[in-house]
């Protein structure tokens, strides 16, 4: 029957607003409707899920919508759950539409109950029971109570493997995780609690154990899991059929191999006659797939297909190679480089855009980014381009870390009064990838300024250019600080370029002007030197070095090796002509992701050209951070002969011998291994003079010349390097082992901005 609706009245509303009813109810005032439309309208209103019941009635021409609101949940109370914590439970329930503020749907409540029981049973808690209750609160709002009785996990009392002849029950049971006896320590460390995942994991372990030892046809015919009537004990029976043990027959390749067969065969780790091993075959397939990836077939797929020969006990294996389409890289994107410029990253790429993709070059580029030392973390992701089946986009996601230090310092020492200093050392200055070192120190007795700049990519091929200027003036006239002083200024420029995958050559030329000032207590060697060689020395320096860097990371490497041989000479025409050879090597072995062993050494030899004495101010020094920790910086080695007024002082030597062994271990409780590295170290080192300096007539020199390894100083201690936001902080606590009187030791040493 048809009637025009003059007005609509809604009854039974408590919390839901009339507005939301009206805009969900398709019929509006003064519309003429018939019963069918009304029924449809009611159904639509019900579909909002807000109401338990919707009734339509007529009062004359007024349409009355009588609704019973579904209660909405005011609070959800959960008790008794310990295995599954509250958030996971609430999140699971919210997904099922059961959350505070939501409308209560009975169906979802039962669904949640079923899922919870399912969850507990899968953890072997078969006696778990969950009951829910609904408690009205006020104005059609309810509180949902969920009591959980988790019950205990059923203990496994039997794991029985039936049908194993080749390997005894004991060997097989040692392989699997689940045990059927309570653990040795009050059952605490036992693994006799049943869980379905662990069982399927164990079955897989059994299967691969057999498949890796020749049993191609090994099969687990059936597995029975039985529970005791009181639901506290579980009995597992695994029925196996070992089948025969097989050896590898022929190995051949099918499909489009791309690689030369000889090359492909060299990648297969097993050959005819070996016992069949599934893992060897999967490794070989993976090796082939990676080789194809390197050749540009990023979508290659390689499968090993064993065929059991009818007779005998051999299995012929065919590697089915589907190279797929040759893949191309369309675009390379970088994410996360908020300060480092795009080009600084892009120039490290060995994989080109618009070129054949090579999985090796893509991962190689990732390693090159890591070696810059600018990033804490580098991840790479290759995504196919939609619409172009053989093109991929490669995205490198980097997490930047401060790669340098900015520090300002105020120090005080009796001799030099207040020392104001500021230094900036940045390996990635303003994200340009250029290295900048700027430093200045001012105090009563000395002022020093230095500026260094290196652009590692002066040319795109990686030729670097760097220059350096320094000025240093000391004035110890009235202080009793030191027995002589040196002023110097100069500069240098150097170029470096890669000569192969790992090594670089550097050549540089520099000028340095040095003047020495002696006082009444200057040591005799220095007095004699200045008398004979004069107080000023201008030297034109040539430097050359060969570096081979295979470290796995720029900062705090844990694996790889680093070697550097450098030669510095003051060419004829300089006041003091000499040459200085220096070797520095490091070798690190990564024992496991957290532990590494580091061996390091530094050797130096210097001598004069011609017969003038070797300039003492170019001597090697030893001791301190980066050398022999536990001894004060630059104090190891031959001493000067004291003038009758002053005391002796370190002169250094023209031979340097240093070595260190360091065990890097994971600092406990610290998750982020990339910004904190701790180690235990053993350092050794000293400097020697091949022949002593002359002393003025009538004086006797106290120096002993000659390299005597017995004089090496040793120390043991703990080192820590921490990447602070301001820069790398290196800290060490060392205990000198064989310091003699006259050695200047220092147990605590730290420095900011320099990693050694």
């Amino acid at each position: 029957v048809e009637f025009t609706v003059s007005d609509i009245r809604v009854e039974g509303l408590q919390r839901v607003s009339a507005a939301s009813v009206f805009n969900a109810f398709p019929v509006s005032a003064n519309e003429s409707v018939d019963d069918r439309e009304l029924a449809a309208a009611a159904k639509e209103l019900f579909a909002t899920g807000l109401f338990d019941d919707v009734q339509l009635a007529r009062d004359g021409d007024v349409l009355i919508i009588r609704v019973v609101e579904r209660p909405s949940i005011s609070r959800i109370e959960i008790e008794g759950n310990s295995q599954v914590n509250d958030e996971d439970l609430r999140k699971g329930m919210a997904d099922a539409g059961l959350a505070e503020g939501q409308v209560l749907q009975r169906a979802s409540l039962d669904e949640v109950q079923r899922q919870l029981e399912q969850l507990y049973h899968s953890q072997g808690r078969y006696s778990a029971s969950i009951d829910t209750s609904i408690e009205p609160v006020d104005r059609n709002r309810v509180q949902v109570n969920i009591e959980v009785d988790e019950g205990a996990v059923a203990k496994i009392r039997q794991i029985n493997i039936v049908g194993n002849q080749a390997y005894s029950d004991e060997t097989l049971r040692d392989l699997i995780e689940l045990e059927d006896r309570p653990g040795w320590f009050f059952g605490w460390f036992s693994d006799d609690e049943y869980s379905r995942e662990k069982l399927s994991g164990d079955l897989e372990t059994l299967r691969s154990y057999y498949l890796d030892r020749g049993y191609v046809n090994f099969a687990i015919t059936s597995t029975q899991v039985a529970i005791s009537p009181d639901k506290s004990r579980i009995f597992v029976t695994v029925n196996v059929d070992e089948g025969q043990r097989y050896r590898i027959g022929e190995i051949n390749f099918a499909g489009d191999l791309i690689l030369a067969e000889r090359q492909a065969r060299s990648l297969v780790t097993t050959e005819a006659g070996d016992v069949y091993s599934r893992s060897a075959l999967t490794q070989s397939a993976e090796a082939l797939r990676q080789k194809l990836g390197a050749e540009g077939y990023a979508f290659a797929n390689v499968e090993s297909v064993p065929e059991v020969a009818e007779d005998g006990d051999t299995v012929d294996v065919t590697f089915l190679v589907e190279p797929g389409r040759r893949a191309y890289v369309r675009r390379i994107n970088f994410e996360g480089n908020t300060t480092t410029q795009d080009e600084v990253l892009r120039r490290e790429m060995t994989q080109m855009e618009g070129a054949p993709a090579s999985t090796d070059r893509i991962s190689q580029s990732k390693r090159r980014l890591e070696r810059l030392g600018f990033f804490r973390q580098v991840d790479v992701e290759t995504r196919p381009v939609s619409g172009e089946s053989d093109q991929v986009d490669v995205t490198y996601n980097v997490e930047e870390q401060p790669s340098g230090s900015i520090s300002a310092s105020v120090g005080f020492s009796q001799s030099a009064g207040f020392i104001y200093g500021a230094s900036l050392a940045q390996k990635n200055f303003l994200g340009t990838g250029n290295q900048v070192n700027v430093g200045a120190q001012k105090s009563d007795t000395f002022t020093s300024v230095n500026f260094g700049f290196t652009d590692p990519y002066w040319t795109l091929d990686g030729i670097s250019r760097g220059y350096n200027l320094f000025y240093r003036e000391t004035d110890y006239e009235d202080s009793d600080v030191s027995t002589y002083s040196t002023d110097s200024y100069g500069g240098s420029i150097d170029f470096g370029y890669p000569i192969n995958e790992f090594s670089r050559l550097n050549f540089g030329v520099g000028l340095e002007d040095l003047s020495i000032e002696t006082y009444r207590d200057t040591p005799l060697e220095i007095v004699e030197y200045t008398n004979t060689q004069g107080e000023d020395a201008t030297s034109y320096k040539l430097t050359a070095s060969w570096t081979r860097n295979k470290l796995n990371r720029g900062i705090m490497p844990t694996d790889g090796s680093y070697q550097r041989v450098s030669l510095e000479t003051a060419v004829p025409g300089s006041d003091a002509e000499y040459y200085k050879v220096r070797y520095r090597g490091q070798k690190l072995f990564e024992l496991n992701p957290d532990w590494s062993l580091k061996f390091g050494t530094e050797l130096g030899y210097a001598d004069t050209i011609g017969n003038d004495p070797y300039p003492f101010y170019e001597n090697f020094y030893s001791g301190g951070l980066g050398s022999v920790r536990g001894f004060t910086g630059n104090t190891l080695g031959p001493k000067t002969t004291a003038n009758n007024f002053g005391d002796d002082d370190t002169l250094g030597g023209n031979v340097l011998v240093e070595g260190t062994v360091e065990l890097i271990y994971p600092f406990p409780w610290v998750e982020d291994r990339r910004s904190l590295q701790t180690s235990v170290f053993f350092d050794a080192g000293n400097t020697y003079l091949t022949d002593c300096y002359d002393v003025p007539e009538g004086e006797t020199s106290t120096c002993e010349s000659g390299v005597d390894l017995g004089e090496l100083r040793y120390s043991v201690g703990l080192g820590l390097t921490w990447l602070t936001p301001v820069g790398p902080l290196t800290f060490s606590v060392a205990n000198p082992l064989n310091d003699e009187d006259g050695d200047d030791t220092q147990t605590f040493q730290f420095s900011l901005g320099q990693t050694f």
Partner: protein, 247 residues
């Protein structure tokens, strides 16, 4: 004043009033808590939709860009044809825009087009959607201006990469970067430089026929581009003869 933890039994209307006063007084973090409480406890109340809009604004004012964008996306999903949904689109774009800016950007000290532009790209897409769906929304005008700024930043970053690849000698890469600008940012002024890059890329590969086609378009669109002397194009990085378009 109102404790941070909104009292649970406040009526919906009263809670909404309290949120308004916090907003007006600029106490945005208190407003956020109150609006959040309103949203969970009265999901279907008459103030619900208005509260959700104001919640977006409050998140924005406390510089919580992710929360603002999430709240905006949720509003768009729940009330797609709400009269004020264009505000949600606009705020989603604005939050991404702010997330992409750098303090030093104004000083030109750091050229952000050389760095990661993820957030700016999101803003560009969101503003684009707003302008497309609601061309005459009150926020469309401001959005259009920001789109122009973002478009140039994104285009410039593409050209910087193209420039690198020209110097490196990876000419296919350089040409495709240029094409990307033309395809994705057709209205930006950078398209002209993109054409120049493509010309030089083709010259690098000695594909002078293609170079000539692109040069023709460049001359037609931007005759006094600084890379042109009359009708001749002078390659900068590539050692190839200059390309003259006669006739």
């Amino acid at each position: 004043c109102a404790s941070n933890e909104a009292a649970p039994d406040l009526q919906e209307q009263e809670l909404y009033q309290k949120a308004q006063t916090s907003l007006d007084a600029g106490r945005y973090s208190t407003a956020v808590t109150q609006l959040e409480a309103l949203d969970t406890r009265f999901p279907f109340g008459s103030y619900a939709q208005q509260a959700q809009l104001e919640l977006i604004y409050a998140y924005y004012k406390v510089d919580n860009w992710e929360a603002a964008r999430a709240a905006a996306s949720r509003f768009i999903r729940l009330h797609p044809d709400h009269p004020q949904v264009d505000y949600a689109y606009y705020m989603r774009g604005l939050a991404a825009y702010q997330a992409g800016r750098f303090s030093l950007e104004g000083l030109e000290l750091i050229d952000i087009s050389k760095r990661d532009l993820g957030a700016s790209r999101d803003a560009y897409v969101d503003f684009g959607e707003l302008v497309r769906r609601y061309p005459d929304s009150p926020y469309a005008a401001d959005a259009r201006q920001r789109i122009v700024y973002l478009r140039n930043v994104l285009a410039r970053s593409e050209l910087q990469v193209a420039d690198f690849y020209l110097r490196k000698g990876a000419y296919v890469a350089a040409i495709e970067r240029g094409r990307w600008v033309i395809e994705h940012y057709p209205q930006s002024t950078a398209t002209r430089d993109a054409l120049a890059v493509m010309v030089e890329g083709y010259l690098g590969m000695d594909m002078r026929d293609r170079a000539r086609d692109v040069l023709a378009t460049l001359i037609e669109n931007d005759p006094d581009n600084q890379r042109l002397e009359g009708r001749t194009f002078e390659p900068v990085y590539v050692d190839a003869r200059p390309l003259r378009l006669d006739g």
